[in-house]
Subunit: 433 residues, 4 copies
């Protein structure tokens, strides 16, 4: 059989298997959507995913990195391909009106009861992971190698990927040659968007405490005024983007929170800042974080602060860099599967993911990638809604559509589930087939 | 009778009348101390003071400026002398252990129930006012003119003096030629401290809202960042004291409070500041306030703030300037009454009072004095306690003694009450006698 | 004749005509190189260019915009194509060791005598313009339309293009449908680099005077300190790039010069700044300039400056935006002429040109383009030198090669002259042919 | 003889001796005035002073601390009193029109030829020192102790006092119990002004170099921008006076000079500042200097400066603190000599002197005084000129009169010379008599 014919055959095989799996995957999706769980609380979700994959013959391990699930299908010599889906939901009260809408609540780590909703479509991701698992298990005669399905907890708090790695994901199971993942988005259902290179932002939120030495507002010389230090810190931080970051690089440093003092005539003891940093280059991101620390320490010295400032990483994730060669390999597989007309060039998003940690296993920190990663986007807006949306192209229409994290966001139609299974399966086969 | 003999006779007359009034004044003091009232709630206190002065033959009006009391004794042609005592207490839980300690609570303007205590000795001031009223009524044969006793509400919030003036104090009753007042302090009981010229600070606390236009921390160009504007405001405000205030002047500008934002990755809509300004020159104080407004408005323009900043005066009072000639006249009267050895030179205090408004009736704002004022201090520390206190002189010993606004502050011994009556009476007679 | 055959014929025709013109063009080049002239002093250069084009049958006008030359060849109905070459040299002492190296000096506008050198290769540009004029005149049977050759003065000071437009270039001669230009660079000789869209930076240098009110250093309150205002201006300007420019845009604001005062104990009357702004989007560039003015005016108000600050544009040029469709048309013409292997994708340069003014005739200021422009780059590094240079590709090798404005830069080999004639001629024929 | 009679006798004795000395002193004054010398060049002046004092029987040493002169009169057991006069002139072209006006020029340390003038009346001080030496030598029967006359070089550059101390003034000659000095001023001739305590300012001018790492204005990330660091230094320095100096203290920190860069598009390598600091408390002055260094070092760290900043003391002198007890002793001696009506209370001046170094011999730096000093002022405005001058009192009239350092300032009338001799002699006798 010619290469061309082979490709056409594989396309048809995947389509057939996807159709076969759809009903069960749709059932799983509705069940997960109805029972969302907060980050690191995905006990029920993990169990459902594990059961489904065990039933398909996968070698399944639960509780990896908390509630994560790892499912292996060792199928002879060949590369190891990791497919990743995330499982956690958000503390949002669902307003979609779906008949399987969530009415769940849960207790947060701080002991607060909140409503829970799959407002970011991670239920879709987990279901498609299981669906792709079914497709690829069904097609095991047609490929060689090791398939590693990873259902990850706690993506929303940028913790689950690292937790699984810390729990020995690559040592206990297999070290992948390629890591593949996807996310739903408000684009026409059935379409797939790719972006080579820099794709999503690194993001760190620092909490900083600046120490002064308070006292009465009328006697500043007997105090160290942390409000003045904090003000100089904020003005000084502007120089990072203005002078230290190469002008062609996209970096943002935002002091979103600055709290000090209780009333005008009392000089407070300290000031609290929260600083958010974003950028698309991990090495530069680390430099920016170092610059922030350098500046704040120096300003505290300038202001004769009696104690060193304190720095706390409140949330953090790496920039996502899609390996250029690998993303082209995926794109070609998807072109073969869906036709070029269903592919689009994804613009770079300012959002963030903890997916890149899977590519960064040995580099650590913001050191760079050592396993190639590819992350793509699947459209989840029903055809009719898409036609009615003003604007041309993804970027313009997106402004008019419900976005992830909205209480009205509902991405999980059958067409999207089918696309999400086929994208994972066909991309995996680009290495295994 | 010689002038000298006359003076000696007056000294003795005052002493005799003070002794006669003591028991009743002490009773009033204990009653007021046991039943303290918050600013503008001095209904019971005002009634007690009014009753006592009516009984002495004064022409009494209640409810002036809220709960204030005005008592007139018109006694022929001659100058008008105003004696002022304040009546309000503080939201502090008394810890003095006195047998007549307060157990009162009250509801604040914000609807919060708080304990109440005469921790600043305004009960002493009101009692001495009544006592001096008794002394001077008893001596009416020996003087000519008009005596105006003013029991003022709400000194602690810098509101009562202006409220009485706004209610027509000088139009409805009499415009004084001299305004006299006093305050207790931790100095040896029986002593009196005078300070000519600049005596207490003007103080203004401004609340300022700086408007930005919030948004996501990753998209600063679509926002106006009020945190950055606020930081530039704080650094810029430092130039007022450093560059605009003559270096020999004592002025403080403190940003005691700066609150903006809720978390690192959200640029907030506004920033809130509280700025406290203090100084000893009313005209310069007004200039400083204008400079603050000028700087904040300009920084908001520099930062393309979408709306003008908002300024609210949270508290404010004038600087107290003791008229030099009048304070010398009072000092001489007190020297004749008590002997030079019981007088001391009072150092300038960083504290503030709303007493100066009585001298500023027509000038308005920070424009200057138009009626001469004299304000002195009476020692309230029992002799034995004073001897035991380390340090030499008032300034050093003060550091070791309980200060007003402490829950342990208890100034009202008989010796102090007697001094406080005699100071007012003898000072009034320096004009009326 | 087929379209393909026609193209191949044209390629050959151009090559032939280029070879025929080479000797004369090379002679002109050596002459111009040996006699460089400063901006707006290109009298001899303009005359040489004019004579050569007149000899070719062009309708030539001299002295347009000072020393500029316009040469028209009206050749029937059809589009108007403008080819631009610049003529001015730099105040640099030549160190190339060429046998036709410059030994010229000239007097600057400020009356200073300086050495002069064609260190930026504008002699090459003028010579190629004449050469392309010869080629296209020779081929006039093969095209229809109007050819307008423009030899521009004073590119180095960003003045010549606008001077020619102000002198009625488009009104007196012809309004082009397309404006074409080129620049030499340190890339392999014979190659041509194209860059669609944003290609070179807008650049403005502002001179700013901030007014204070000087006095003795010990009496700041009697002065307005311009040093403090200037310092706040500099810190405040950092917020433009940090907060007002979208993070994905490349903009730089540099205060390269700040001079105030003569000695420590005298507060000066004013401060002088020079601010350089660069960016690739003309509309955004204008916004940045407005932001600078807004900030400086506001800081002067904050600092109670007695007079408005003064702003002077010292140098300024627009960003160069290569019209995407037109650059593709040129690229295809060049591919046909030279083969794809001699083309390269030019990276975006931080340098600036005043060429874009020709595309901006009616828009004015930084308003945008109204006539499409294409500007490309021709390699000028001899083959052997190129092979010896370390690095892969243009960007890496460029770091090791002499750059324009170096006293050692010598781009004008025969191979480069031939390429520079053929690029202009073939690009022009993409519209005229 | 009664104490009162003794005093009256001494007054008369001094007056007589002053009259006797006047002609020679006036001659010396005119000679010195006509031949002024720059700091550390007072060779002729020193010789003239030395000769005159040798002729009076003093034990004279020349060349102390460069050109200084020390003259001792050991007259039995008793205290040692030092009288100081300074000798140097200024690089000013005299415009007084006096018949003995200077026409001298001299070469500065930098090799520049400048006109020279006694525009600060140091000729008067030296002459009065010699005159007082004559008076006290003549009266030697009436006192016991050691008289040390010190003619000091280089007061104008704040160097001569320390130079003499460094040359062993107190070790080689005598350590004084009291140091006395005086300065002429625009007040009514014949009057003497005293000021207890803080009298003249400490003053330091620092030169500071801030190191950056320059480069092209378009590539800030490859540079360290010293302009931005300098701007943050200036804004930060404002917090010293605003927050670190007690508000009741008089301190000024002025950045009078800030130079960086040559043109807008080049980021310079460094920035140069000159910072002038003034204050009346030596210990606080030292703290302020330390704060400046702390802030600049920290800001250089914040701005990642590649090298530590450099600090140079350009000029410096201590604050003058007149010992309270000693100034009262002098004042009483002057009252006895001249009558109370010729004394006035001198207001504090913002000017500076290096006289205080003589009181600071062992303390070093800004450590405080260890030998009591008294420095007073003598009026030098002729009676008629004084009457014609508008204003009341010294402070008001001073604004209308020529001040020291003016080319028109001419203080040396006979009445002033007589006063200046008598002030020194009578003050010395307050310790020796």
């Amino acid at each position: 059989m010619s290469h061309q014919a082979e490709k056409a055959g594989m396309k048809t095989s995947i389509e057939t298997r996807v159709e076969q799996a759809l009903e069960r995957v749709q059932g799983l999706y509705r069940d997960l959507h109805c029972h969302p769980e907060l980050p690191f609380q995905e006990h029920r979700t993990g169990a459902k995913v594990a059961e489904a994959l065990e039933a398909l013959g996968y070698e399944v391990t639960r509780g990896v990195g908390g509630t994560g699930v790892v499912a292996l299908l060792r199928n002879g010599a060949g590369p190891t391909v990791m497919l990743r889906g995330d499982m956690d939901a958000l503390p949002i009260e669902e307003q979609t009106g779906l008949d399987f809408a969530s009415r769940e609540t849960a207790e947060t780590a701080e002991g607060k009861r909140v409503p829970v909703m799959h407002a970011c479509g991670h239920d879709l991701h987990s279901s498609c992971l299981v669906g792709a698992g079914a497709v690829l298990a069904g097609l095991r005669e047609q490929w060689r190698g090791t398939l590693m399905l990873v259902a990850q907890p706690a993506e929303e708090v940028f913790g689950g990927a690292q937790a699984m790695l810390d729990d020995g994901l690559y040592e206990r199971f297999a070290r992948p040659d390629i890591v593949l993942g996807q996310h739903n988005m408000p684009a026409r259902e059935g379409t797939v968007g790719h972006i080579p290179g820099s794709a999503m932002a690194a993001a760190t939120t620092l909490g900083v405490t600046i120490h002064g030495d308070g006292g009465h507002g009328s006697m500043p010389a007997q105090t160290v005024d942390p409000v003045v230090i904090a003000a100089h810190v904020v003005t000084r931080l502007q120089t990072i983007v203005a002078r230290e970051v190469p002008p062609e690089e996209t970096v943002v440093v935002t002091v979103g929170k600055l709290h000090a003092g209780t009333q005008g005539n009392i000089i407070p003891h300290s000031a609290e800042l929260e600083i958010n940093v974003r950028g698309f280059d991990n090495a530069l991101h680390r430099q920016v974080l170092e610059a922030i620390e350098r500046i704040i320490r120096a300003e505290c010295q300038a202001g004769r602060s009696p104690r060193e400032p304190e720095f706390r990483v409140l949330t953090e994730t790496l920039a996502l860099h899609n390996d250029e060669a690998s993303v082209e390999r995926v794109r070609r597989a998807h072109a073969a599967q869906f036709g070029e007309e269903r592919l689009f060039a994804m613009p770079r998003l300012n959002g963030s993911e903890d997916f890149p940690y899977f590519g960064n296993a040995e580099a650590g920190g913001f050191g760079g990638e050592d396993i190639p990663c590819v992350y793509w986007f699947i459209g989840a807006t029903p055809e009719a809604r898409w036609q009615d949306t003003p604007g041309n192209g993804v970027a313009e229409k997106m402004r008019h559509l419900e976005m992830p994290h909205s209480p009205y966001y509902a991405p999980g139609q059958a067409a999207t589930l089918k696309t999400g299974m086929a994208t994972l399966a066909s991309a995996a086969l680009a290495w295994l087939g």
